[in-house]
């Protein structure tokens, strides 16, 4: 029995245009939780995909239980006892929970799949995870967080000795996260090795034994977790000290700009609040609380079933995002790939798309000069790293993509700017840049609403915090005075 | 299949009893689009009304053996007493016809016969008609002093026997007269496509002297192409339609072989009546002939 379950030496992986991994070494012991951190594009997922046979390494040596392995396939990796929970949800929405859990490993007799057994086994695993869902429910019907739990259940069901978790918590509620941590601890005591990737560094304190830090496809250091602290880790990640994680600025708030009265839409129920110029409101709450639905309703993307919205005292009748934009209310949506960007188009066209009314003449003919200038100014303002404004958005790193989602609105003078999870899954440095963008808006006397599931960020950035639960506002706090558990208490006030 | 064995004669009388007062006569053509079929139907309908027969017209939406066989099967299921059939393919339809006869349905062929024997056949002799077209072509060419040169044929497709016969009949005569015939273009009777092909012939062969279309669509294409090219090329075609008459009038076409579809339908139903009432149906094959339109 060798000391390490996995030994990687001098692993490199090149994608067209990017050197994702550059001579990386990585060692994994049995019974340890090995945290893996690094900025976006550091190469974490790529390395994990190489371990689990999704990509093949360009060079380097890969030892599993001491014996070297050639090119793997996902299936072979599975058989070798490696399971991975992917960063993006990877489930078949049309299949049932059980079918998803056993996908590719169906139990079958004489070529005929045994539904019964699979449902039974699935049920067991789900119970172990304390998830009360039926194995024969179709996945589509479950909320995102539950789907994520199913993905975890799927990984566990393989009884793998090596378990890779690539940002498993990014869509989980606090309660589910603690369930997950319990499971991780039991697995550990059974001698499983776990690789744990997360951008929520705070989490690591609960579980991590040691931490490896990656930057730009290179392995920087591996340390025992107890010999280090978050600030050190962060400085390794970004290659420099970050002075203040939350560069909040003070500026006195102006007159009331947005007034929401008894708004109802979908699960959003009787929501009222005011927003002032030069104010940042943070919308906190657990996943599924209805924050996205609320902001989408304000933006005209969800149909409003009751209540009213006033801008500078004037009652608005917003039925489509178009109306909202015309009124000066803009939204940077939650999921950049799905709702935020036309990834097949260039930066210029994405910026232009949101501002066509300003670069087109009466006849609806686009002025390329105006458009170019617009794109240039946006790229400069947001410090988007790109060779040219003609770069396809698809080829940008996550952080820079997010900047465009946010930034396409900034070149027009909006009255109210809404961000939904603007920092989800992007690295520390990029986050700070997004925070600075918010502060600029604040200084210009624009009203900012931003949804976030990361409490430190909400508390650090916003002047006021609205906590939502179950579609209602269950707390309206001054962030200076707010505390984590106070927010959490409001966020779980289900009986209202 | 058992019903094939049962002799037709045995079932005929009982079939006659089942179909109470008015007997049902079906006309099944190759498709319903060409004016040709519409005219056959007109003729058949006229006579059917005169004789108080219960008359239906059916056909596939496009020329297709399988679909025509199903049309026949459906007619049998619909208790037709007699079917006037224009066989899309003599072989393909025969089995279905045999089964129909076995079920006591009487068969008369119009326009195109199938291999399976039937009471009577009323049709144009397409080979002879083609030959006639060939003669006309040769006469016209000689008249305009062209004793040699290339001739292009635009036909429907290699699967339609009537038009293949017209092509071969034509080919024989014309080649004998010392003209060269180019690779035939098959354009499924589509006027526009036929016209493009005709242009191809005209542009691709300096010594092209004549063009020949084997059905309505191809003929319209030929006529239009000659008209547009402004060259003195002899155009001969088939069938009679308003468009073709126009092209004849302005000389783009020199002649068209007109069949007598109305007669086919009209006499066909008359024969049917005779057959259904066990009267004499006269000669087994009636050539409804062609008229040369100029």
């Amino acid at each position: 029995m060798p000391e390490h379950l996995i030994e990687l030496r001098g692993i490199s992986k090149v994608f067209p245009g990017v050197r994702a991994l550059d001579k990386v070494s990585f060692f994994l012991k049995a019974g340890e939780v090995h945290a893996l951190v690094g900025e976006n594009g550091a190469g974490k997922s790529t390395l994990m995909k190489i371990i689990s046979g999704i990509y093949n390494r360009d060079e380097g040596e890969y030892l599993l239980n001491g014996d070297s392995v050639g090119d793997l396939t996902p299936k072979k990796a599975q058989e070798l006892g490696i399971a991975i929970i992917h960063q993006e949800l990877n489930m078949c929405q049309d299949l049932t929970v059980a079918e998803n859990i056993f996908l590719g490993r169906e139990i079958s007799k004489l070529g005929c799949v045994c539904q019964k057994e699979m449902n039974r086994d699935a049920k067991e695993i789900l119970n172990k995870l304390k998830i009360g869902i039926e194995p024969d429910t179709v996945l589509r019907k479950l909320p995102v967080s539950k789907q994520q739990m199913v993905e975890i259940a799927k990984a566990l069901s393989t009884n793998a000795r090596i378990l890779i978790m690539d940002e498993p918590t990014s869509a989980l509620t606090e309660r589910e996260i603690s369930e997950l941590f319990d499971i991780i601890r039991t697995l550990k005591s059974n001698g499983c090795a776990i690789v744990y990737i997360s951008h929520r560094l705070e989490e690591l304190e609960h579980i991590a034994d040691c931490v490896s830090i990656f930057r730009d496809g290179r392995h920087i250091v591996t340390k025992d977790f107890k010999d280090t602290d978050l600030n050190e880790i962060i400085s390794y990640m970004v290659g420099r000290e970050i002075k203040e994680k939350f560069p909040a600025v003070e500026c006195q708030k102006g007159s009331k700009i947005l007034e929401v009265k008894n708004l109802c839409s979908g699960i959003v129920n009787d929501v009222s609040f005011d927003l002032y110029q030069g104010e940042i409101i943070g919308l906190a709450g657990l996943i599924g609380a209805g924050r996205t639905e609320l902001v989408r309703a304000l933006f005209g993307a969800e149909s409003i079933t009751g209540g009213e919205i006033r801008l500078k005292g004037r009652k608005l009748n917003i039925r489509t995002p178009r109306d909202a934009i015309m009124e000066g209310i803009v939204l940077g949506p939650e999921d950049r790939k799905k709702e935020g960007l036309c990834t097949k188009l260039s930066i210029r066209e994405n910026i232009g798309l949101a501002n066509l009314d300003r670069i087109c003449n009466k006849a609806g003919i686009v002025s390329r000069n105006k458009e170019n200038r617009l794109a240039e100014s946006a790229i400069d303002k947001l410090k988007i790293k790109t060779p040219s404004q003609e770069q396809l958005v698809n080829n940008l790193s996550g952080g820079n993509q997010q900047k465009i989602v946010v930034g396409k609105w900034l070149v027009r003078n909006a009255e109210v700017v809404i961000f939904d999870e603007p920092t989800r899954g992007i690295d520390v440095a990029a986050k700070v840049e997004i925070y600075n963008i918010m502060n600029d808006l604040k200084r210009q006397g624009i009203g900012v609403i931003f949804v976030s599931s990361e409490m430190p960020e909400v508390m650090g950035m916003s002047d006021r915090i609205l906590v939502m639960c179950n579609g209602r506002i269950t707390g309206d706090l001054i962030s200076r005075e707010a505390t984590q558990d106070e927010i959490l208490r409001c966020a779980t006030k289900y009986n209202h | 299949a058992p019903e094939v064995e049962t002799p037709a004669a045995a079932t005929t009388p009982e079939a006659a009893e089942i179909s109470a007062p008015a007997k049902t006569v079906y006309l099944i053509t190759m498709d319903k689009m060409d004016q040709h079929w519409v005219t056959v139907d007109a003729g058949a309908k006229a006579m059917a009304d005169a004789l108080g027969l219960n008359y239906k017209w059916d056909a596939p939406d496009v020329k297709d053996n399988a679909k025509q066989i199903e049309a026949v099967n459906n007619a049998v299921a619909d208790k037709a007493d007699l079917i006037l059939l224009a066989a899309n393919d003599p072989k393909a339809i025969s089995e279905a016809v045999k089964n129909a006869k076995a079920k006591g349905v009487k068969i008369i062929y119009v326009d195109s016969a199938a291999d399976e024997p039937a009471i009577a056949t009323l049709s144009t002799n397409n080979y002879q008609a083609g030959a006639l077209a060939g003669q006309t072509m040769v006469e016209e060419l000689k008249a305009s002093g062209k004793t040699s040169g290339k001739i292009g044929i635009i036909s429907v497709n290699t699967a339609t026997n009537s038009t293949m016969d017209r092509e071969n009949g034509f080919r024989g005569v014309v080649e004998a007269a010392g003209y060269t015939i180019l690779t035939t273009e098959y354009k499924d009777g589509d006027a526009a496509a036929s016209q493009e092909a005709a242009y191809g012939f005209i542009a691709g062969n300096e010594d092209l002297v004549g063009l020949y279309g084997t059905n309505e669509g191809s003929t319209v294409g030929v006529g239009n192409a000659i008209k547009a090219s402004g060259k003195s090329i002899i155009g001969i075609g088939f069938d009679k339609s308003d468009a073709i008459l126009g092209l004849l009038k302005d000389g783009s076409l020199k002649a068209a072989m007109a069949q007598n579809p109305f007669t086919m339908g009209y006499l066909g139903v008359a024969q049917a009546y005779a057959a259904l009432n066990d009267l004499s149906t006269g000669p087994a094959v009636i050539d409804t002939g062609v008229a040369i339109l100029r």
């Binding site: 996902p74 489930m91 539904q115 | -």
Partner: protein
């Protein structure tokens, strides 16, 4: 809870699963109503003759529809199957006539050839990642070309008397009072429905149609799974081609024209989603029956050809609309009109 679990198991649970069953039920009702209406208009519609005959007419579109459904469920489409049927008809007939080959051997070789086309489709789609629509559009044209080449751009002569058994098996003969093609259709349905609903292959078919990446990452051999469905559809198209040969007793170059679209229509009417991931073969069967009953019934009702097209076109659209409603739970037409 567990109890409920078990009652739902097995084939029942399979078919009552959400995968488009709602649609299947609603169209089944529609089918029954249609049948009754046509029966009233012309009583002969119900005659044994017409019924058996109708069944026989539906079989080809149903068989090809099943193949198309497999492909649609993976999120693809196979435009080539119509031409493949034509190719099958021509190759088999040519081998029997000019090739003087034993009918069964000829049939076997033909099916092999068709599967080869399926393999090519599968390769183009699964490996070179061409959009299915384009890849199969290409093979559609090619297969038609082969059909035309195989007997030198001529339909074949009549297949020899020796092939009578072949003709009977694939079209004219009957067993227990039902035409053989009906039995063939039934058997193929049982086999392929089993494959789709009860085997790994079936599971993978749904999986890649639902989320290709996820299936791949779960260790499903996506390349193989995707290739399979195109081979299935080509195979079934080949069978239909043999039926056409038997029916006409000869090879027809234009045979099977536009079957591919009829097959899509049948599948979609039966609730198979063109987006992939959803559909039941039983639905496809019902779909093809609606198709067949419409054509046959409208003729019996003496409706003109043009009208039939209108009706069928409308039915296709309506049935998918129903599907939408069924799935989205509701469909507020006024909202649809207003919605921006």
């Amino acid at each position: 809870m567990q109890k409920r679990e078990y009652n739902f198991n097995g084939l029942l649970r399979q078919t009552v699963s959400i995968r488009g069953m709602g649609q299947v039920i609603s169209v089944s009702v529609a089918l029954i109503i249609m049948t009754i209406v046509f029966g009233i208009i012309n009583p002969l519609f119900f005659s044994k003759d017409n019924m058996t005959n109708l069944l026989r007419q539906v079989v080809p579109i149903m068989i090809i529809g099943m193949g198309q459904s497999f492909v649609l469920i993976t999120g693809g489409i196979d435009l080539s199957i119509g031409s493949v049927a034509g190719m099958s008809s021509m190759i088999s007939a040519t081998l029997m006539t000019t090739g003087h080959m034993n009918p069964w051997l000829a049939a076997f070789i033909t099916i092999a050839a068709c599967c080869a086309v399926g393999l090519i489709n599968g390769f183009l789609v699964s490996r070179t990642k061409l959009p299915a629509f384009i890849a199969t559009l290409g093979t559609m044209i090619i297969a038609r070309g082969i059909a035309q080449l195989s007997n030198g751009n001529m339909n074949t002569d009549g297949i020899p008397e020796a092939a009578k058994a072949f003709k009977d098996l694939f079209y004219y003969g009957d067993t227990f009072g039902l035409y053989n093609p009906i039995w063939i259709g039934l058997i193929l349905f049982i086999i392929f429905n089993f494959i789709l609903s009860r085997t790994r292959t079936g599971r993978h078919t749904y999986a890649i149609g639902s989320n290709y990446e996820a299936a791949k990452l779960s260790g499903v051999n996506v390349i193989l799974a995707e290739t399979k469905v195109y081979i299935f559809s080509a195979f079934l198209a080949g069978i239909v081609g043999l039926m056409l040969t038997a029916q006409s007793g000869m090879g027809t170059m234009s045979a099977g024209t536009s079957y591919e679209l009829n097959a899509v229509a049948a599948s979609v009417i039966g609730g198979v989603s063109t987006m992939g991931g959803q559909g039941l073969l039983f639905g496809t069967v019902i779909g093809s029956f609606i198709w067949g009953v419409l054509n046959n019934g409208l003729q019996f009702a003496g409706a003109p050809l043009a009208l039939r097209n209108l009706v069928i076109g409308v039915v296709v659209i309506i049935s998918v609309l129903i599907d939408r409603v069924a799935r989205s739970g509701k469909f507020d037409f006024r909202k649809a009109l207003k919605s921006k």
